[in-house]
């Protein structure tokens, strides 16, 4: 009995991975096939990108601030508080900026995508779309993937900048540090591999957020309860995958560039 349960669960897991891979591959293939649904891409970019600006700016600013606060208290013990700017910019650009921004966008948009598409599934709107001759993967999934990848990339850059600014504000106004020194160490310590790491991650994270959100939305079953379940699963799995992928990308790029 237990063996049969494990067997069934494993099969479900493998099937889910296969379905997810197929959905992602077909949606990606649609990027290069007409029609392109440009207006849908711009609409999603507005919802995902512009709509996420307030939370990204707020979290970025306070994260930078708290990083400065925490690191300064430790660095002071070694008389190295001058390196606060370097630590904040390193942390923000390589890790905190991409990961926290992605988690914020995931919480806001992966759930939104899963619930929106899930509702369309349970009310037969997706079937109606297919019956009207439109591929839902092209019309609904592809624009969300493109918009999330592009917008998350810029949101992360913004979050990094606001975070460093927040760290600077705390360092100068609360810790009494020199502002010029803070921004000089922030800027001068950065090298190409650091920037690259910070810019590669949002591309993967954006893809994860959109594909997981759409996947759980498109496989919704069981009415409004099913929509709720899909929404929760989308946020849980996109968050897990973001953190797992973050580790793998970091390990890979550190392996190549040595930092």
């Amino acid at each position: 009995m237990a063996l049969a349960t494990i067997d069934a669960a494993t099969k479900r897991g493998v099937l889910a991975v296969q379905e997810y891979a197929l959905l992602s591959a077909r949606a990606l293939g649609n990027i290069f096939r007409k029609p392109f649904y440009r207006s849908d891409i711009f609409m999603q970019a507005d919802i995902i990108g512009v709509g996420s600006l307030p939370i990204v700016i707020l979290t970025g600013f306070f994260l930078g601030g708290v990083l400065a606060l925490q690191s300064a208290s430790t660095l002071t013990q070694f008389g190295a508080e001058a390196f606060t700017g370097q630590l904040v910019s390193f942390s923000m650009i390589k890790e905190i900026g991409p990961v926290v921004t992605a988690l914020m966008v995931s919480g806001r948009n992966a759930s939104g995508m899963a619930s929106e598409l899930g509702s369309m599934i349970v009310t037969e709107q997706i079937d109606a779309m297919r019956a009207l001759g439109t591929d839902p993967l092209k019309k609904l999934v592809m624009p969300r993937i493109v918009a999330t990848v592009v917008m998350l990339f810029f949101l992360v850059i913004l979050s990094d900048a606001v975070g460093i600014l927040g760290g600077g504000f705390v360092s100068v106004s609360m810790l009494g540090q020199n502002g010029t020194q803070y921004f000089n160490t922030s800027y001068q310590s950065l090298e190409f591999p650091d920037i690259l790491q910070g810019l590669v991650k949002p591309v993967f994270f954006g893809f994860i957020i959109a594909t997981i959100g759409c996947y759980y939305g498109m496989k919704t079953r069981g009415g409004t309860q099913g929509v709720g379940r899909s929404t929760t699963q989308a946020v849980v799995w996109s968050s897990i995958l973001i953190i797992t992928t973050d580790f793998m990308i970091s390990r890979f790029l550190i392996g190549i560039f040595g930092r």
């Binding site: 037969e124 709107q125 079937d127 109606a128 297919r130 019956a131 009207l132 001759g133 439109t134 591929d135």
Partner: protein, 285 residues
């Protein structure tokens, strides 16, 4: 009823039906089709045809697989075995990409309407036209014409949530006929509606049958709707349906009946009424 014309959108070339059928060829052919879900058979060895201009009314108890059969007809589901031909093309062997093109010539009215709730009535009805990149003016004109057919031409800017259940169903019919399809699939068009609204919807279905002569499959479990369709015809001059003379039924309307996943009846109204099959007798009594 105040509308006075059928929909004819094909003339301006917006929706060239991807059809290779000829008038003599059946529009739909089911050949020994079976389908099941999770190892449980739902439909078994289903074979029937829909000829050009013909209306097939599909009867059967709830949950017998009527909606599944409709979804097989427009390729939303694929059969486990057997062959399905629509407009002479075997859709059971077609790629999804090619099916999207074919579905442009099939109108589908879903059980609950399945209108896009974030689009206005105008955008819902004109959805297919906007996918074909028609001009905004033409989309509005065609959507208005289709809405006039279902007598809802004043609702262009409303959202589905602002409409009653019956109005939503009529908008769904307008969306299905706006491209002048060669085949319309009605999935329980009167399900959950009050008797008066149901009659209005059935009248619209009849109007489309008798004015535009569109082939159709009508799924219903309401016998009264089925017999209204079989025993009335639409009088365009008076713009309302009329009872046919005694002992006459509409020659283009015939019945299919499903029971326990199998097709237990395929014939005319008279054959249905005089059937000696115990299940059919009990069902129509």
């Amino acid at each position: 009823m105040s509308g006075n014309a059928g929909i004819s959108g094909g003339a301006n070339g917006a929706t060239p039906p991807p059809t290779s059928s000829t008038p003599a060829e059946p529009i739909v052919v089911f050949d020994d089709v079976s389908i099941g879900f999770e190892q449980k058979p739902v439909l078994e060895n289903i074979s029937f045809q829909v000829r050009s201009g013909e209306m097939r009314i599909l009867l059967g108890p709830a949950g017998v697989g009527k909606s599944v059969l409709l979804k097989l007809t427009n390729g939303l589901l694929r059969p486990d075995s057997g062959h399905i031909f629509v407009f002479g093309q075997e859709i059971s062997a077609m790629r999804e990409k090619d099916l999207f093109e074919l579905r442009g010539a099939i109108g589908t009215v879903f059980q609950e309407g399945a209108l896009f709730d974030s689009l206005t009535v105008r955008d819902n009805v004109g959805y297919r036209l906007s996918e074909e990149h028609l001009s905004e003016d033409e989309i509005t004109a065609r959507a208005t014409e289709a809405l006039r057919f279902v007598e809802l031409d004043g609702t262009l800017d409303k959202f589905p949530s602002e409409l009653s259940g019956g109005m939503r169903r009529r908008v769904a019919i307008a969306r299905a006929i706006v491209t002048d399809p060669k085949l319309i699939l009605y999935d329980s068009p009167t399900g959950g509606l009050d008797p008066i609204t149901s009659t209005t919807i059935i009248e619209l279905v009849m109007k489309q049958r008798d004015i535009s002569h569109t082939s159709s499959i009508v799924v219903t479990h309401r016998l009264q709707d089925a017999f209204i369709l079989a025993m009335h015809h639409f009088n365009l001059a008076q713009n309302r349906m009329e009872l046919l003379p005694p002992h006459q039924t509409d020659p283009n309307t015939s019945f299919l009946m499903l029971h326990q996943g199998r097709l237990v009846f395929d014939g005319t109204t008279a054959e249905l009424i005089h059937s000696t099959d115990p299940f059919i007798k009990e069902y129509i009594s």
